[in-house]
């Protein structure tokens, strides 16, 4: 400790400062710094900071008062901004009325509903489920916005009181709107601080997170208190969204990305300290404004100034103290016999998948709804795209599903894999280089894992997210990394065993085969000592450590495995999407979607990967139906299923945290002739359900012995010595 500050903080700050100075010297634009230009830049920075401070305030308030880190905070803002536009611009309501309806009526209602339906049940869920569910809410809200307000019309949210009215500030004019934003942001932060510290309801909100039972013993109504917290949180999100929208334009993705900057600001205050979060937001705002004004990173790093927030988030998280070894959580929804997939079952499963893929894509199956025939290029395009995403998704199974390590950066690893492949295989597309991709991505995974291994789950999620964002802003756009962007050149076709996979169906089948190999590898891995060890550190790190398992090293290994799988998958993903725009293809939002899909399917089961194939199949069906005409209803249905399905299914994780495949497997496995164990389990469950109701208390007929036992159990006297036979029979 130096002056009471942790070493890690000091080291990280020094490194960051040093890096910033070196960077500044290297990239100095050379424009003259006058007091006037400096002031204007500072004013822009403070204004940006105020905008982000509003979002950060909402995040911190929700986290301190509910204990849930809400990834959907930004999406609530997006939805509210669109609703405000609808009411104010489209329907012509007065801005104050529209503002009131959205912020004071709609937002609290949304918050209370979220709490009552979902959040309340998340309190005892594992962190993975908590995070997945808030991410799912984010994705769902964004999809709803996309569906209601189609992207084809350009929309603008006007500034309050117009952009041209305001105070004259000498060199420039300060519009009322910006002044209001600044004042409101500060006022909100101050009043929230007051609410949380100086009022009883605010105190109760924090108390409920500390100890819900004790709060009830004091006489506070825990459910009412937490609903209030969510209502408040979503009001703050709504206000933030509406006030930011005029600046950024009404684009869902852009507006939603603001939340990442807010994450960085909130991390400044260790996610709980409101004043620090506001200061963090202001700092990031100033940094952004000044780097934009004075530094020039050149065309190669044209997005680098946007990476200020993710980089700060990375630094803050790395400077955090090491987490103690956590004790495990209760695992819900366990089966009495958790069963390993047998090696030959894995083979059969993979074989069936490959056959199905061949049959579908070749048009061998006739469903009578449409003209049978091979898939056309449109179907194959969408199938290839989804198949490549499914491959990336599989890389999350060991990492999230088994070891419980959250990772929002699968696409960053995938992108790195594509980059390595491009560098080594060049234009030839020699497929054997894919093996080298696997080898080189492993160290990158390990590198990310080293700081991650010492962090708690939530910070881990934030760190991987910041890593993904930094990669897609700094690394991927560099022309040396992805030289094919904008040149019209194609990502090279893969060539393996003397075959060039240049037709879409061949490429699709190649991916299906790689998919089967991945799944089978996972089946074997799950059965191995490594699979067991990963499950063990997920259940209890402390216990694993006391058995001699090196926890940090184990996490590093699982990251390396996952990164290498993602890297290989990335080569296919780049081949599929490379001719469009690679940078977009490695974007964070798509990463979120992959993580959600896998979580919804059941992230702990290797066979869950098969589920991901349904998405390309549905897409293929949809396109085919569209061609056939007259089945609008079905097309819409399939469209809704592919858009909202994953998000809705993740919401289902609240009740069924192990995902869809797990439940489907329970229903399906008894059909398999060799699964006697599954049939026995179903029979045992049914027997339990058939336990008789006590009913008419033996009036119309004498009790049977089972009923006597049921009554005893109901009355709680089963532990007494009950003469099980003869008791009921004596009566009859």
């Amino acid at each position: 400790m130096i002056f009471g500050v942790r070493h890690s903080v000091v080291v990280a700050t020094l490194l960051a400062t040093l890096g910033a100075v070196v960077l500044a010297v290297l990239t100095w634009k050379g424009s003259q710094v006058t007091s006037e230009s400096f002031l204007v830049t500072t004013y822009i920075g403070l204004f940006l900071g105020a905008l982000w401070a509003m979002y950060a305030t909402g995040l911190v308030v929700v986290y301190t008062t509910t204990g849930v880190f809400n990834f959907a905070q930004g999406a609530i803002g997006v939805f509210s901004a669109f609703l405000y536009w609808e009411l104010h611009v489209n329907r012509g309501w007065h801005s104050i009325l529209a503002l009131f309806v959205v912020v004071c009526l709609f937002a609290p209602a949304l918050g209370v509903t979220l709490d009552a339906v979902i959040m309340r049940r998340l309190r005892t869920a594992s962190l993975v489920v908590q995070l997945m569910v808030t991410v799912a809410i984010m994705v769902l809200l964004l999809s709803v916005v996309g569906d209601i307000w189609e992207a084809d019309t350009p929309r603008r949210v006007p500034y309050l009181f117009g952009i041209n009215n305001g105070i004259d500030l000498g060199p420039s004019q300060l519009p009322w709107h910006r002044l209001i934003v600044f004042v409101v942001a500060i006022a909100i932060a101050v009043s929230m601080r007051f609410l949380l510290r100086r009022t009883r309801i605010g105190t109760a909100m924090r108390a409920v997170v500390d100890n819900r039972e004790l709060a009830a013993l004091n006489g506070a109504r825990p459910n009412v208190v937490s609903s209030t917290s969510w209502a408040l949180g979503s009001m703050l999100g709504a206000l933030g969204g509406i006030l930011i929208a005029p600046e950024l334009g009404l684009d869902p993705a852009t507006l939603n990305n603001v939340v990442i900057i807010a994450f960085a600001a909130a991390a400044f205050g260790a996610l709980r300290n409101l004043p620090m979060a506001v200061i963090g937001a202001m700092l990031i705002g100033l940094l952004r404004a000044h780097t934009g004004a004075w530094l020039d990173f050149g065309p190669d790093f044209r997005f680098a100034h946007l990476a200020v927030a993710p980089l700060i988030l990375l630094f803050v998280v790395v400077a955090l103290p090491q987490a103690r070894l956590e004790v495990g959580r209760l695992a819900h929804h366990l089966r009495r016999h958790e069963r390993y997939t047998k090696w030959w079952e894995g083979l059969i499963g993979c074989g069936v998948v490959i056959l199905l893929a061949v049959a579908f894509s070749g048009g061998w199956l006739d469903f009578g709804i449409w003209d049978p025939g091979a898939w056309g290029s449109r179907e194959l395009n969408s199938a290839n795209e989804a198949m490549a995403l499914a491959l990336i998704g599989l890389s999350l199974v060991p990492l999230i599903g088994w070891a419980g390590q959250i990772n929002f950066a699968p696409l960053a690893f995938a992108g790195f894999g594509a980059f390595v492949y491009l560098k080594f295989a060049g234009d030839s597309g020699n497929g054997y280089w894919i093996l080298l991709v696997g080898l080189l991505c492993a160290p990158l995974g390990a590198l990310v894992a080293l700081p991650a291994a010492r962090l708690r789950g939530l910070y881990l999620a934030l760190m991987t997210m910041a890593f993904a964002q930094a990669m897609s802003l700094i690394f991927f756009p560099h022309p040396w990394v992805m030289p094919i962007i904008g040149t019209g050149r194609q990502f090279p076709h893969i060539e393996l065993f003397g075959v060039t996979f240049d037709d879409r169906r061949g490429f699709f089948l190649l991916m299906v085969c790689v998919f089967a190999i991945f799944v089978y590898g996972l089946v074997l891995l799950r059965r191995s000592r490594y699979g067991r060890r990963w499950m063990a550190i997920n259940d209890s790190q402390a216990a694993a450590a006391t058995l001699g398992v090196p926890v940090v090293w184990t996490k590093v290994v699982v990251y390396a495995v996952s990164a290498s799988m993602a890297g290989i998958a990335g080569v296919f993903w780049a081949t599929v999407s490379g001719n469009v725009d690679s940078v977009q293809g490695f974007d964070l939002l798509i990463g979120f979607n992959i993580v959600l899909l896998v979580a919804a399917a059941g992230v702990s089961i290797p066979m869950a990967g098969i589920f991901l194939i349904f998405i390309p199949l549905f897409k293929g069906f949809g396109l085919r139906l569209e061609d056939a005409g007259n089945v609008d209803f079905l097309v819409t249905l399939l469209d809704i299923m592919t858009t909202y399905g994953p998000g809705l299914m993740v919401l289902g994780m609240v009740f069924n945290p192990r995902g869809a495949i797990f439940e489907m497997g329970r229903g399906f496995s008894p059909i398999l002739p060799w699964r006697r164990d599954a049939r026995a389990e179903i029979a045992a469950e049914n027997a339990q359900k058939r336990e008789p109701e006590i009913g008419e208390l033996g009036i119309d007929r004498p009790f049977t012995p089972e009923e006597v036992i049921a009554i005893d159990r109901r009355l709680g006297i089963l532990d007494e010595v009950v003469p099980k036979e003869g008791y009921g029979t004596a009566r009859s």
């Binding site: 004790v327 958790e338 067991r532 499950m535 450590a545 006391t546 058995l547």
Partner: protein
């Protein structure tokens, strides 16, 4: 020389002193008891000894070597194993796999000439869990899950075994068979084993322990044989009240 020594261990959490110069030593071939009222700091001492908590001050020595700064995994490899008061079994794994994780980790060093599965089955057999080997531990009753933890600890072939309330959740028969198992393990000279037992079931403690340490708000207030400890006035004060009240029990001393 004692196999494991905790010397003058102090552990502070904020303003709370959980351990206040506590010293404990345990010897090979004995079960040593550690008793004390609720919140006396027994589990904290276990956490310090196994490395889950770094002590504010004080030292932990194993076989004469200072291990105060060794990692948890390193201590495990040296031969310190434990169970937990609040269950820390691997809930999503079967009982067999719980033990297997431990055997696999220690296979090269300690079970070289035997197959992993055989060792795991033997350990489960020792605690009487052969029949539920395939059952997911999270679905087992608490008492059985505790036994899984014990089997897992034994699979590390420990030289020091720290048991945190192994009998809670077990019935009397099961408790006494655990007692016999422990006595058998320490009596076997090949094992060179020392056991430290935290327990609330006093008849169990008095039955198996050769020596008992009594901890009371972080301080060791008595060390001795079960008979000595039962007769110790400080111990009675810790459990029942302070000295003035002892008059009421004088007649029970005989």
């Amino acid at each position: 020389m004692a196999l494991l020594e905790a010397e003058q261990v102090v552990m502070r959490f904020g303003g709370v002193v959980a351990l206040d110069n506590a010293s404990v030593d345990i010897d090979i071939g004995e079960v040593t008891g550690l008793i004390g009222p609720n919140g006396a700091g027994k589990t904290t001492l276990f956490n310090v000894v196994t490395g889950l908590l770094p002590p504010t001050s004080g030292r932990v020595k194993f076989d004469g070597v200072d291990i105060t700064r060794a990692t948890v995994a390193k201590r495990s490899q040296m031969g310190i194993a434990r169970t937990f008061q609040k269950l820390e079994a691997f809930n999503t794994l079967s009982a067999f796999d719980n033990v297997r994780v431990a055997v696999e980790k220690n296979h090269r060093a300690k079970w070289k000439h035997r197959r992993v599965g055989d060792v795991a089955h033997e350990m489960l057999g020792k605690v009487g869990l052969d029949e539920v080997a395939d059952v997911t531990v999270g679905t087992l009753p608490t008492g059985s899950a505790r036994l899984v933890e014990l089997a897992r600890a034994l699979a590390c072939r420990p030289r020091v075994l720290l048991l945190d309330e192994p009998s809670s959740g077990l019935n009397e028969d099961e408790t006494s068979s655990i007692g016999e198992l422990l006595l058998g393990l320490v009596a076997d000279e090949d094992n060179e084993l020392a056991v430290l037992l935290v327990e609330h079931d006093m008849s169990f403690v008095m039955g198996v322990c050769a020596r008992i340490h009594v901890l009371d708000f972080g301080k060791i207030i008595a060390v001795g044989t079960p008979i000595e400890v039962q007769g110790d006035s400080a111990v009675r004060a810790a459990y029942l009240g302070s000295d003035e009240f002892r008059g009421a029990y004088v007649e029970l001393d005989e």
